[in-house]
């Protein structure tokens, strides 16, 4: 298993083996699942309460379907770990985090200094997403 390089959660690490979305439907005891780009994240929504970890795979970082998957899961209230795995690159990190990813296990470990800079890059953001950050339009009209 590829190592988790960055994790933004304080709960205990989850190392449960992740099954495919198809297998998950059959296995009532599975607590971790892996979502591929073509999978429909909605299929998991009835079972979120028994999931601790959802891995979202990026076979190529330029295929952005996993961003929508993560947001769909967070918008449905999933509070467990959403881990980006596969071809995860420095320049995706802050955008992944904005879409609800809170753990990152890149195939190739990333330069820690570059990654830290990337996570801290954007002081403010234009959109409301599931990460709970106040978008710029909210800051403009608060109070």
């Amino acid at each position: 298993m590829v190592e988790v390089q960055f994790r933004f959660r304080s709960d205990e690490a989850v190392n449960d083996p992740a099954v495919t979305v198809d297998a998950f439907a059959e296995q009532t005891n599975a607590t971790a699942v892996r979502v591929e780009p073509g999978d429909d994240a909605h299929a998991l929504l009835p079972h979120l309460d028994r999931l601790r970890l959802i891995e979202v795979n990026f076979p190529a970082w330029t295929d952005g379907r996993g961003y929508s998957s993560a947001r769909i899961l967070r918008e449905a209230g999933f509070g467990g770990e959403i881990r980006a795995v596969g071809d995860v690159v420095i320049d995706m990190l802050s955008h992944l985090k904005r879409c609800g990813f809170d753990a990152f296990a890149p195939d190739k470990p990333l330069n820690p200094a570059d990654a830290e800079a990337a996570f801290k890059r954007w002081d403010n953001v234009y959109q409301a997403t599931a990460d709970g950050r106040q978008p710029i339009w909210a800051l403009r009209h608060q109070g």
């Binding site: 780009p37 970082w61 330029t62 295929d63 952005g64 379907r65 961003y67 929508s68 947001r71 918008e75 690159v89 420095i90 320049d91 802050s94 955008h95 992944l96 904005r98 879409c99 330069n111 570059d114 800079a117 890059r121 954007w122 002081d123 403010n124 953001v125 234009y126 959109q127 409301a128 997403t129 599931a130 978008p135 710029i136 339009w137 909210a138 800051l139 403009r140 009209h141």
Partner: protein
């Protein structure tokens, strides 16, 4: 005009820092070209035939004189003294060095400009009506909505790696001057047509799945009215369905028009509506107060009232230009003037640094500090006093910018083609030059009247050949440039796609074929018909016969 606040400025400054870091990592070897390419593209940096090319965004085609002057200065400082205005209201520079790019972006940021998302598989610069805020036929100025969408689409974390590029246009009049229905999303601001539910309030009509390229499609309407306080939410639903289901197996079938076509308009709409209902509860919509804040920047300038509408047209050259290149303004005593970047024999859309700075000065002195870039690759002064028009034209004319040919056969849209573009199959610019020379006489242009001629150097259709009354498509026939002729295309309220006449031509043959097409028009024209009207009435056959017979 919109002005950045501290947040907007911080966003572009951060982007400059991010790209500076990406360039460093590329030059240091941390990034391979394959890894770097998508990153540089999202900053408008291409590799073209001769060098890097940088495309700078002109959001909804509006800019002030300081910004325009900076575009001229960049052309001198970092390029070879000129820039090329594009069919998406942007400007591109053809001779850029990678190591200079972060500094160019910093110079742009200093005047509230950027190159964010001017390329790549993301939401591109949002285009609009070049007469916005000045034309009398709009229901409202569309630009505040375009600016709201600009901010929403900038660095939208979910939509930076879409199946393919994504272009949005926002207009607010039935006279569509932005080819709205040939965009991935075309938005027309309208008054609510439903009398039971707030009739008369402003909202957005959504057309989705239009586009040019190798499979041109006219976007169908999917929603007649989206209330203003749901505009972003509805857009987000349109994009999410596309991001999840747009084809990624074939680059040539990855645009949203293919998804809408394959699913069918009704099924795509159903999925969008379902996603929309879900997203309504997610709190992603900016408050209406934000639209009001943005809208204040687009308030009318301080017009002078009581101005005369009289124009002294005693100079015949001026008269020609004033009648051809000017459009009625909503305010008495003012006029909208278009500067043609299509001199006879010139390169469509190119302007020198000096010309760019001159237009900036004129805008500052005479047009309330505003200019527009048009998708037809021209520049507009939106608010000129009629009393100043002659003086302005004299300045333009002395600088080679006084050509009187708006919307005529000389006002050709042409992509850079094989002279600059690495995707092109044939050169576009020499064809445009030859046609503009063939039809160079003002009398000939006046006789033919409105005729929109558009040339693309490959099937990607950056030169909008599908939408030309006369379109020309350059192809590669066994290593030799060859040109196909299309007739009957049109953008605007009555959008239609051109049809290919038949076998292609060589460089001189295509110019002859265009001339024959105009002869058929002149011989068959009834009353005030334009070329397009005559074509639509008599059909392809007489043209084919004249061209190939």
């Amino acid at each position: 005009m919109y002005k950045y606040d501290q947040y907007d400025q911080q966003m572009v400054d951060t982007r400059v820092a991010e790209f500076r870091d990406q360039v460093r990592r590329r030059i240091d070897g941390e990034l391979t070209e394959d890894q770097f390419r998508p990153l540089r593209l999202q900053n408008g940096l291409y590799l073209q035939l001769h060098a890097y090319m940088l495309r700078v965004a002109v959001p909804y085609g509006t800019l002030n004189s300081t910004q325009m002057a900076m575009l001229g200065d960049i052309a001198d400082k970092y390029d070879r003294g000129y820039g090329h205005f594009t069919t998406r209201q942007n400007i591109q520079y053809n001779w850029i060095k990678l190591e200079d790019t972060p500094d160019i972006l910093a110079d742009l940021a200093s005047v509230e400009m950027h190159a964010i998302q001017t390329s790549g598989n993301c939401i591109r610069n949002i285009s609009s009506d070049q007469y916005a805020g000045a034309a009398s036929d709009e229901v409202i100025d569309p630009r505040p909505y375009a600016e709201l969408l600009r901010q929403w689409s900038s660095f939208h974390p979910e939509f930076l790696t879409l199946p393919r590029k994504f272009k949005i246009a926002v207009i607010a009049s039935d006279t569509d001057r932005a080819a709205m229905r040939l965009h991935d999303i075309g938005i027309q601001m309208v008054r609510n047509p439903n009398p039971e539910n707030g009739a008369g309030e402003i909202g957005a009509r959504f057309y989705v799945g239009g586009g040019m390229g190798r499979t041109p499609m006219i976007g169908p309407m999917i929603r007649a009215f989206v209330p203003l306080d749901q505009l972003i939410t509805y857009s987000e639903a349109c994009l999410r369905v596309y991001n999840r289901h747009g084809r990624r197996d074939n680059k040539y079938k990855a645009r949203i028009k293919i998804l809408v076509h394959e699913l069918g308009k009704d099924e795509y709409t159903r999925q969008v509506e379902e996603e929309f209902q879900h997203l309504l509860d997610q709190g992603i919509e900016p408050p209406l107060a934000e639209l009001e804040r943005i809208g204040q920047y687009f308030a009318d300038p301080a017009w002078e009232t009581g101005l005369s509408d009289e124009l002294d047209l005693s100079d015949p050259d001026f008269r020609l230009w004033a009648e051809r290149n000017c459009h009625a303004h909503k305010q008495a005593g003012y006029v909208i003037a278009t500067v043609s970047l299509k001199p006879v024999g010139g390169i469509p859309g190119d302007a020198t640094a000096d010309q760019i700075r001159l237009m900036a000065r004129i805008a500052k002195d005479y047009s309330f500090d505003e200019l527009r870039v048009t998708h037809a690759q021209n520049i507009v002064f939106p608010h000129l006093r009629k009393a100043d028009l002659y003086a302005v034209w004299r300045m333009l004319d002395e600088a080679g910018l006084g050509t009187a040919n708006l919307d005529t056969v000389g006002d050709i849209i042409a992509c850079p083609g094989l002279d600059y573009c690495s995707l092109a199959n044939a050169r576009s610019i020499p064809i445009a030059q030859k046609i503009s020379e063939r039809f160079g006489s003002p009398a000939k242009q006046a006789e033919i009247g409105e005729l929109k001629l558009k040339i693309s150097g490959c099937i990607n259709a950056c030169g909008h050949h599908h939408a030309g009354h006369i379109g020309i498509l350059g192809v590669d026939r066994k290593g030799v440039e060859n040109y196909q002729l299309l007739l009957g295309g049109c953008e605007g309220a009555d959008t239609s796609l051109g049809q290919i006449t038949g076998p292609g031509f060589d460089e001189d043959g295509i110019v002859d074929a265009v001339e024959k097409a105009t002869e058929v028009y002149l011989a068959n024209k009834q009353g005030e018909e334009r070329f397009l009207d005559t074509y639509r009435r008599i059909g392809m056959a007489p043209f084919k016969e004249a061209i190939y017979g």
